[in-house]
């Protein structure tokens, strides 16, 4: 149970970063940390003690394997996470070119 709690604390660290940092790059890092904690949580849920990796040798009878369903979900989520992180970075660099700063407070006040 303590691994679940640590996963949740990692999620809270990411949330803290998103809420308190002023720098756009650090906000993106916080979002990515939240994503990572979610991946690890899903992989933890599907783990079975003594289970093998979900690759079955067809010549032998099937033994105990871990749950392949959360792994399939996380596999797609990782690639989507990379694409959305790159999208956020594109927005950040576009804002930097316009306002010459990463500070979200200054970006908010310097209209136009």
């Amino acid at each position: 149970m303590i691994t679940y709690l640590l996963c949740f604390i990692l999620f809270l660290v990411g949330l803290y970063g998103v809420l308190t940092r002023k720098n756009l790059i650090k906000i993106i890092i916080g979002l990515s940390v939240m994503e990572y904690s979610l991946y690890l949580f899903l992989a933890l849920i599907g783990y079975i003690d003594g289970g093998a990796a979900p690759i079955i040798d067809p010549s032998k009878p099937a033994g105990l394997v871990v749950d392949p369903l959360p792994q399939a979900f996380v596999l797609t989520a990782i690639v989507i996470g990379l694409a959305t992180t790159a999208l956020l970075l594109a927005i950040a660099i576009r804002l930097y070119k316009k306002y010459n700063t990463f500070d979200i407070d200054k970006i908010n006040t310097l209209k136009g």
Binding site: A53, I55, D57, P58, S59, L75, T76, I78, V79, L82, A83, A86, L89, A90, I93, K97
Partner: protein, 143 residues
């Protein structure tokens, strides 16, 4: 982005082909070993990214001259996007029926249409990541 020294360029020219082949291996053996279209596609994109980092953006002749630069950029990115859309449309048809004969599980030519899906997903992921990277690099060299 002028590129690095001649040592880095030569070593990269030797290595990137091997990395590309390794990505193809990961894609083709996706139904037998760990890996598949996602991992293999990212490795294939990584081999091209290595070439761009070592040789500079001129390696793809994207901004050779002022006039032609936009044309080449447009053509290059359009080709990548065309492949991406082709992968998108061809990779997963509507009803996911396993059309091809199954074969014996555990061999390379088995599992029906799953290897074909894997190939197109690999193409789509590789094209997507390469166009993301090229967009950042071209944006940097523009101003």
């Amino acid at each position: 982005m002028k590129g690095m020294t001649i040592i880095v360029k030569n070593v990269t020219a030797l290595l990137s082909g091997l990395i590309f082949l390794y990505g193809c291996y990961i894609v083709l053996h996706g139904h037998l070993t760990p890996g598949g279209g996602f991992a293999g596609g990212i490795i294939i994109a990584g081999s091209f990214i290595l070439l761009v980092i070592a040789n500079g953006i001129q390696y793809f002749r994207l901004n050779k001259e002022k006039e032609e630069s936009s044309l080449f950029e447009g053509a290059g990115i359009f080709c990548f996007l065309l492949l991406a859309t082709g992968g998108l449309f061809l990779a997963v048809p509507v009803f996911f029926k396993n059309l091809l004969p199954g074969g014996t599980p555990g061999e390379l030519l088995s599992a029906g249409i799953i290897p074909v899906y894997n190939i197109f997903i690999g193409i789509e992921v590789a094209a997507a990541l390469l166009s993301i990277f090229l967009a950042f690099v071209i944006f940097k060299t523009e101003d």
